[in-house]
């Protein structure tokens, strides 16, 4: 079958360009509606979450039991692709030199950070771990957060020891008070009494 000679007419070329531009512009406009008030609120919350979880530090110490929060941190870090850092702070009393050997505490640190690594591995997240000896747990956590430009500090709670004047433990309260970034504190429910009371459970 013979064909006509193909040639491009300037008018045809202009119309073709107009059709392409007008269809493209119209559909782009259709697919980008303005956000409603509630959508703006949601977007702001999302954006603050992104800021919050850019870099996460999970802090452990003999006074802060964060194991249950580590699982949450690993999931959060995976979902938000955050940097995850677990630290164990061993408080060295002033009666000892700063680098004194503290076998029991160091062993506890190895256990806590080992468990944290296992959790991170299960969640397919890269985790940096660090054991720090310091005079003050609070100051050590805040210093590390400042050094790493952390966006979020995650802490567990310590409620099995003696009452220290603050329901969460004074170290946790102080970190939450002085931190320059967001602090997420997880309190385990197992120490509560409300459920047992309501059911009349003597335990």
């Amino acid at each position: 079958m013979s064909s006509y000679v193909i040639s491009i007419s300037p008018v045809g070329a202009i119309v073709a360009a107009l059709v392409a531009v007008s269809i493209g512009t119209t559909l782009w406009w259709m697919l980008h509606p303005p956000a409603s008030f509630v959508q703006k609120l949601a977007a702001e919350a999302e954006s603050s979450l992104e800021r919050m979880v850019g870099s996460i530090i999970v802090a452990f110490s003999p006074e802060i039991n964060s194991s249950h929060m580590m699982a949450l941190a690993a999931k959060l870090a995976r979902g938000e692709k955050s940097e995850l850092h677990a630290i164990y702070v061993i408080e060295v009393p002033y009666t000892l030199p700063p680098d004194a050997e503290m076998a029991l505490e160091e062993r506890a640190a190895l256990d806590a950070l080992g468990a944290a690594e296992a959790l991170a591995l299960n969640s397919d997240v890269t985790l940096r771990t660090e054991t720090i000896k310091a005079r003050s747990t609070k100051q050590a956590v805040l210093d590390i957060a400042k050094r790493d430009k952390a966006n979020l500090i995650i802490l567990g709670s310590y409620r099995e020891g003696r009452y220290s004047g603050a329901p969460l433990g004074h170290v946790i309260e102080e970190i939450a008070t002085d931190a320059k970034c967001d602090v997420l504190i997880g309190v385990e429910g197992k120490h509560g009494t409300l459920l047992g009371d309501s059911l009349g459970d003597p335990s």
Partner: protein, 514 residues
């Protein structure tokens, strides 16, 4: 919505010849007015009833029924027409399905498609949203490619001017062409149907609606101008071996009329080699999806009409096992099959052909279905314009996030209202198209009004039996209803605005009375 041009293009080119682009322009301008009216109403009243709901609210029960009944005609025709043209597009690749040479095969294939859709909808098989999205995206890209490459490589402006000068139709043919052109712009009901399922419809619906209106208008005008000014890639010869222009393959050739976009795509230089293979399949899939939209559209409208006591509660009945409105689906698919039989009868039986030739100007097949489609669309759209005007006057308190431009401020029953000029222009335009349809289509003139009369008789009998007013409206709490609609749609700010409007008006009235 975009599937209508796959059906309308060939019919308009056959009827309006050198003025096809003018026919599309006239119908397109009316369509813009209709689209704006639907946009305003669907954003203000995001409910599934669509046009019939607007008319019910604006004009009352009897007119709501008539508009809904006309939409039902359109949806049942929609099922048959799109299934018919789906087979036409497939016949481009499988010539054994061609209607003129194998009418029984064509009839059987169309029948099976309708029956298949009926069964699928009764059983409740869901369409994949991802698949629909993929087909829609492919359609937009393909149509844009056909037009852009067609204008780039095959468009001759002098040919367009020549055709407009020397092949200008008679006024009768132009009116016929315009009445066919309006079927390329049917589908606005789908927007209002979707409004109830859209989150924040007042914001999303206007934007989607306007974008679709513009896209379809651009496609329709571009296709018609390209078809008239197109230098085909390969020479097209008539029976005597003389070269023909592209648009000349449509008059007196229903087979070609049913697959115009596929034929045009195949004549685009270079791209046509690929387009000839996949555009018929793409067109067939799109048309099948549109046919399916007719099946669930009709059952949804019937459900909505039934819930407002315009139709018996039978149409709200849900199948115990499948949880679908099986009675509605089967009833309207049966009507669609009846329409198919009427459309195909002349090709299947020579006796019927003679009757059709005598009484219906020989209209059959595709033109039979298109006539009824145009009648149903023009009738329901005419009522929607009247409803728009009525609602602007009687319900000015409902917030309208989108409002048609060009309004005249005035006072009505003590309230400030805005009278829509575009509504009046649109009504005149669509009413003219309704008159064109009645004047130029013997089938539309007879079968269309017959459908309406049948429906009105049915309505009178039903309302009398139920003890409801026949020519007056049932009392309804529209204020409560509107609050529920806005709350369910997630338009809480608009709901607050509506409540504030009501409160302010009540206070004003109380002051005036005091």
């Amino acid at each position: 919505m975009g599937a209508d041009i796959f059906v309308g293009l060939g019919l308009v080119l056959a009827a309006a010849a050198g003025a096809s682009n003018v026919a599309f322009l006239f119908a397109g301008l009316v369509y813009v007015c209709i689209g704006l009216a639907y946009t305003e109403l669907a954003a203000a009243y995001p409910v599934a009833g669509g046009g019939q709901y607007f008319v019910l609210r604006g004009l009352g029960d009897i007119f709501g029924f008539i508009a809904g009944w006309a939409v039902l005609l359109d949806f049942t025709i929609d099922v048959t027409l799109f299934a018919w043209t789906c087979v036409d597009y497939l016949s481009q690749l499988a010539p054994g399905l061609t209607q003129s040479t194998h009418p029984w095969v064509h009839f059987g294939a169309t029948f099976l498609l309708i029956a298949g859709l009926c069964v699928l909808n009764v059983v409740g098989v869901r369409e994949s949203t991802a698949f629909n999205g993929f087909v829609s995206a492919l359609d937009v890209m393909s149509e844009s490619a056909i037009l852009c490459l067609g204008f780039l490589f095959a468009f001759r402006p002098e040919l367009l001017i020549h055709n407009m000068q020397f092949h200008w139709p008679s006024p009768y043919e132009l009116m016929l062409g315009i009445s066919y052109a309006i079927i390329s712009f049917v589908g606005l009901e789908s927007i209002s149907q979707a409004a109830q399922e859209t989150q924040r419809p007042a914001s999303i619906i206007p934007r989607t609606s306007i974008a679709l209106i513009l896209t379809i208008l651009i496609f329709a005008l571009a296709y018609s101008n390209l078809a008239l000014g197109m230098q085909p890639w390969h020479p097209i010869l008539d029976a005597h071996g003389h070269p023909m222009q592209f648009w000349q393959i449509f008059p007196n050739n229903p087979d070609n009329q049913g697959k115009a976009v596929a034929l045009l795509a195949s004549q685009v230089p270079f791209y046509g080699a690929i387009a000839a293979l996949y555009v018929p399949i793409l067109g067939a899939i799109l048309l099948l999806i549109s046919s399916n939209s007719g099946v669930f559209g009709s059952s949804r409208i019937a459900y909505a009409m039934s819930s407002t006591n315009l139709l018996p509660s039978l149409f709200q009945r849900v199948h115990a096992k499948f949880r679908t409105p099986a009675t509605s689906i089967i009833a309207f698919c049966s009507v669609a099959i009846l329409e198919l039989i009427f459309a195909a009868l002349p090709a299947l039986d020579p006796g019927a052909k003679a009757v059709y030739a005598r009484f219906f100007n020989g209209e059959d097949g595709l033109t039979f279905l298109a006539d009824l489609y145009a009648f149903g669309a023009a009738t329901s759209y005419s009522f929607v314009f009247l409803a728009l005007i009525a609602l602007r006057l009687t319900d000015p308190l409902s917030p309208r996030k989108f409002k048609i431009p060009l309004n005249v401020p005035m006072r009505f029953r003590g309230l400030r209202v805005e009278f829509p000029i575009v509504g009046v222009i649109g009504f005149c335009g669509i009413f003219a198209i309704l008159l064109f349809t009645l004047y130029t289509h013997p089938i539309g003139r007879i079968a269309g009004p017959s459908w309406l009369i049948l429906g009105i008789v049915f309505y009178i009998v039903y309302r009398r039996r139920k003890g409801l007013p026949v020519f007056h409206s049932q009392k309804r709490d529209w204020k409560r209803s509107q609050i529920d609609i806005l709350r369910n749609a997630g338009e809480l700010e608009l709901m607050d605005e509506y409540l504030a409007n009501i409160k302010a008006t009540d206070e004003l009235r109380a002051k005036a009375e005091a």
